[in-house]
Point group: C2
Chain length 341, copies 2
């Protein structure tokens, strides 16, 4: 068994969605489970062998549990629906398991359950099984929610890193970094507040379905860039597809408050979590029409083409700045953003 995780204990950075997270997953979790016969793909949606059904699971521990534009409960539903959606699977049902810290107010539990209920109802995906556990005060933090989603393949979906090829186009459905910076602001970790900063938490299935309905297998790969931001997501793709991805920095929508906060904090907006954005790799022939289609939808108003896929012996993501310089866009390192989802 190839367990190469060397750290003696788990650190916050192992949960931040960047390099340390990948080390924990690829160096410890995956090798142990695969050595016992479980499949290697962990952390994304998975197709249950021999069926059209897909499954995904995520725990949500965002702090604070309410923030401008969303709540833990809403995030827990959207996050899991989105993991199914970007795999090309229509969400059919979710489960919700809740760990409550003793002493948490009924009002807080009520609020998060209402958020789960509303989000599932809006998405027309019922919560079909649940569980509730209680742990002592000081052994949790209010409410943690684990959702698991079940979905069925969209008939036209044919997605995967193996389908990504030089010449393909990278499309992003809107501005990046909103969720992560909003949560930091809600925690009081920024020196300013902004009335326009809001989490982008949303169910992506409606726009995914439109893309697949309209363009079928010209949609080659999709992902929702959560922890670690679009930089981590695209780096994972570059490795899996063995390509170089060139991003045009000026084409990636970033709102002013997000840009300002990132400058103050020394963060890259491309490393910040999103909870309602789609990154898709499309056949160049349909990319322009796909962006137009996305822009007709409230979730894709500021969609744009942000880059292209190139042949390379070294998988990497390169960013061309507004001044024409090139910089390597690496995965997130360190843990500037713990408990962001």
């Amino acid at each position: 068994m190839n367990v190469w995780f060397k750290d003696e204990e788990i650190l916050m950075s192992h949960g931040a969605g960047g390099k340390a997270s990948r080390k924990l997953i690829e160096g410890l979790v995956a090798p142990i489970l695969t050595s016992h016969g479980s499949p290697v793909c962990l952390g994304d949606s998975f197709n249950i062998a021999g069926t059209d059904y897909w499954v995904t699971t995520d725990s949500f521990v965002v702090s604070p549990s309410s923030f401008p534009g969303g709540t833990l409960g809403e995030l827990a539903v959207h996050g899991t629906l989105n993991d199914l959606s970007v795999a090309g699977a229509e969400p059919l049902a979710i489960t919700s398991a809740i760990i409550i810290e003793a002493g948490t107010s009924k009002d807080e539990v009520n609020l998060q359950l209402e958020a789960i209920g509303r989000a599932s109802q809006d998405a027309n995906v019922p919560v079909v099984a649940g569980d509730t556990k209680v742990v002592e005060h000081g052994k949790g933090d209010g409410v943690y929610i684990t959702t698991t989603g079940f979905g069925r393949s969209h008939p036209k979906a044919r997605l995967g890193p193996a389908r990504v090829a030089p010449g393909d186009v990278v499309v992003c459905s809107g501005s990046v970094g909103d969720h992560g910076i909003t949560v930091l602001m809600a925690r009081g970790e920024l020196d300013f507040t902004s009335n326009s900063l809001r989490s982008d938490t949303a169910n992506l299935w409606p726009i995914v379905k439109e893309l697949l309905d309209t363009f079928g297998d010209s949609v080659k790969w999709m992902r929702d860039p959560t922890r670690g931001g679009i930089a981590s997501t695209l780096n994972e793709l570059a490795c899996d597809a063995k390509v170089e991805i060139m991003i045009e920095e000026s084409q990636v929508p970033v709102t002013d408050p997000v840009r300002g906060a990132c400058e103050i904090l020394g963060l890259d907006p491309f490393h910040i979590a999103n909870e309602g954005k789609l990154v898709a790799i499309l056949d160049a022939a349909i990319a322009h029409r796909a962006v137009e289609l996305l822009r007709e939808h409230p979730l894709g108003r500021s969609a744009s083409t942000i880059g292209t896929v190139h042949e390379s012996t070294t998988p990497m993501v390169v960013c061309r700045t507004e001044f024409g310089a090139h910089r390597t866009l690496d995965m997130l390192t360190g843990d500037p953003l713990p408990r962001i989802c």
Copy 2:
């Protein structure tokens, strides 16, 4: 919306599996989710509408995370497999989402992952999706694991409280209370230790499958009596099926260390959690043969007929003591056994 949960905050007793748990689920969780269109059945396996597929989810927060006979990781796999099994669904796949407290040793994470891997391999049910989150030291307790299971109906299964009728026989696959008392002992909460006390954690699918293969729809209802013990499980059935259940106390296997610990602590073994026991309601015509079949299997060596189902205007569980007296066997109240699974 019929939210009738009145407590101002969540207490440990709301997680102990007895009356307070039922209050939290039925008075708060279920009404909120059902008001948003989700089905009413929460906490058990659920059949995904229009399919043969079943889903169940559970968070596991047992403390300590290792105890004689088992570990948190093993429990997290078995518990979810068992919830599917007693619904008559063959487990096909599980997911595992882990919340790790920062500062937890690599060794502990390794141990629990190995336990998940081994238990899933032994059951031949792969872990098909996973997630890992990290929370600050003091906001968790080592490792919490949420597993979700996905299964397919056994072709002969026709189970449900509506099928339970007067004259049916209650069968239990072995001694009760072993898991709960073992965990209490491992916590140092007993004045004695016992070398023979071990958790009964086990995957019940092999014996469930044999019962269904052999007796088909003569098996009317099954449950694994975890939190709240067989008393809570049978009370839930009595309410759902609107019957009286008469239990012969002398017929319920209880090991000496469990009996002794319960006497010292003032607990009823019928309230103590099990993690590898099956309670089944069977047609009287096959009950004797079913017990014989169970006894041939390592998981059912001390299986026995423990009671009968009777017509009643008041759903209840009555226990006939060894001296012929009758006592009402109520659900667990209070929280003598927090974080038992």
